[in-house]
């Protein structure tokens, strides 16, 4: 599993605070990037389908009907066919997107929040405190991420919330590392030193001066984690460690539809294909964001 993003190359830190115009430039850059537009478009579509599933979906995601099981794509009334319990696959895929995206995005968001906070704190305070925090986190680095996720959800037992906890724990140390390294670079800059001399409180220095500089690189890093998180999460569900039936989730659907691969290959392939497409879109968008934000260099 691709839970192994390389750490970002030493992040460029500008002396000036990022201004509103910087983000405007980034945004303009992104809008001009066809890859970003395509990936963003696909993602928006998938997200919208998931979010608005209760209003858009043509059927009930749980209503089973054995006489209609495993209908092929394009059957009348079932645009994408039906699953092994005769449930409308399009509906299941739309609802499935909710949990799959949730499991992909929530751990990254949580890790982004928690990791940035810890990283900022460690980097800003520095010294022994920093060392202790970073050494403790090094331990988590000693675990291959899939193994860590599997170990935690294995011991806690299967379930959505346990998977979320496991995945968050996997990503936090990585985010902390990025946040800490940037904070240390920023801290040494002259104007921060000046602010500190002038008696500004640590909190306000962090909030006003450091945070702005740190958020960018951490944000870039976190976007790169989205696809990793998606794939890891669906993998957990595939193993039976994530979402429990009958909740629709792409990884779980991929598993239960496997046996239809001979009788109805396209229907069986769809959940996997969706994970794949979403994950590619996340990756391409992350690449575009990274290069768009690089303009500062």
């Amino acid at each position: 599993m691709s839970a192994t993003l390389p750490l970002p190359s030493p992040v460029a830190v500008s002396a000036a605070q990022p201004s509103r115009s910087y983000w405007a430039v980034v945004w303009r850059q992104l809008r001009r990037d066809p890859m970003a537009l395509a990936a963003g478009g696909v993602l928006l579509l998938i997200i919208a389908a998931a979010v608005f599933a209760p209003w858009l979906a043509p059927a009930d995601p749980y209503k089973a009907s054995m006489i209609k099981r495993l209908l092929p794509i394009g059957s009348s009334g079932f645009l994408l066919g039906t699953d092994e319990l005769g449930r409308d696959l399009l509906t299941r895929l739309m609802y499935g997107g909710r949990l799959s995206l949730l499991m992909g995005v929530v751990p990254v968001l949580a890790a982004f929040g928690i990791g940035t906070a810890i990283g900022l704190f460690a980097g800003y305070v520095g010294g022994k405190v920093n060392m202790v925090i970073m050494r403790v986190l090094d331990v988590f680095y000693a675990f291959p991420s899939v193994l860590l996720a599997v170990a935690i959800s294995g011991a806690l037992g299967p379930g959505l919330s346990n998977s979320l906890i496991a995945l968050t724990l996997v990503f936090v140390p990585q985010v902390v590392r990025v946040a800490e390294s940037v904070t240390i670079q920023v801290r040494q800059l002259d104007y921060i030193e000046a602010a500190r001399m002038s008696g500004a409180s640590a909190f306000s220095i962090i909030r006003v001066h450091v945070l702005g500089n740190v958020l960018g690189p951490v944000f870039v890093y976190a976007t790169g984690l989205l696809s990793v998180s998606m794939i890891l999460a669906s993998g957990l569900s595939f193993l039976g460690l994530g979402v429990k039936p009958p909740e629709p989730e792409w990884g779980l659907m991929l598993n239960t539809l496997r046996s239809a691969i001979y009788s109805n290959p396209w229907v069986a392939a769809l959940p996997g294909l969706l994970i794949f497409v979403t994950s590619i879109a996340f990756n391409l968008l992350a690449d575009s964001v990274r290069s768009a934000m690089d303009i500062r260099r």
């Binding site: 599993m1 390389p6 696809s227 039976g240 996997g272 994970i275």
Partner: protein, 317 residues
Amino acid sequence: MFAYILKRLIYAIPIALSVTVVSFILVYLAPGDPLSAIAPADAPEEVIIALRSAYGLDQPVPVQYGLWLMRAVQGDLGLSIATGREVTSEVMRAVGNTLLLAGFAALIGVIAGCLFGALAGYRHGSWIDRIATALSVIGVSIPHYWLGLVLTILFSIWRPWFPAMGAGPGGSSEWLWDLEHFRYLVLPAVTLSVIPMGIITRTVRALVADMLGQEFVSALRARGLSGVAVFRHVAKNTAPTVLAVAGLQIGYLMGGSILVETVFAWPGTGFLLNTAIFQRDIPLLQGTILVLCMFFVVLNLLVDILQPMIDPRMGRA
């Protein structure tokens, strides 16, 4: 150099210890009484007493950890709840199989990754570059257990070229280095290799493109240095990073092969983990995770030690 190695070694010790702590704590993460996590529900009194004293469950937690660690260091990881067999022997057998799979996958990944990456870097912006980049994005984006299913259908059912499951016709204990056995390795290893392939392609591409863009390379070229010489120069400078990335990848693959092993019924650690989880076999889970992580720690250490040795930029002290 020696001092550096020593420093890395010393640094690895607390990490290794902490790994043991995390593995130990799994017993407490498991819901319910810790004893129920390590003893079969129908265990007779003697077994329960033996386990209680082995883990020292009436003692304070640090003492319990100490007791457990002492045994673990001596190679005693306890007995599996489900089978009653020694965890150590179960895990070691599985580790061998996983190492075979992960090593071979990493090999494919590194070779393909270096090839694609170098080509893409050399022909930056060309169609080769685009294809290689696309492949690398696909590699890191594809849910590889799904890829495994698709490959099985294509190359072991539709075109029955490779076996669909297992580690050799006689099981892993009769593994031989011949063509017949090798066929069993192909599909799972290829499936597993797409991730390192993707990541290494990206890394090499960026490094090579960066290197070729630098002024001194153009200077070398301008001085009429042959392509081979330039290539050698580039290779020398990218090797350390590639080694570091590749080393980590083997570690990640060893931990990450759980899904592929499940799909291909490959009798490695992933298969063992999966069974351990659903049997709620905590000693087995503990042991497998501990051994895998130790591998990872050692691998990291090796990379840390080897990397500066082959890095021309670092002075050979």
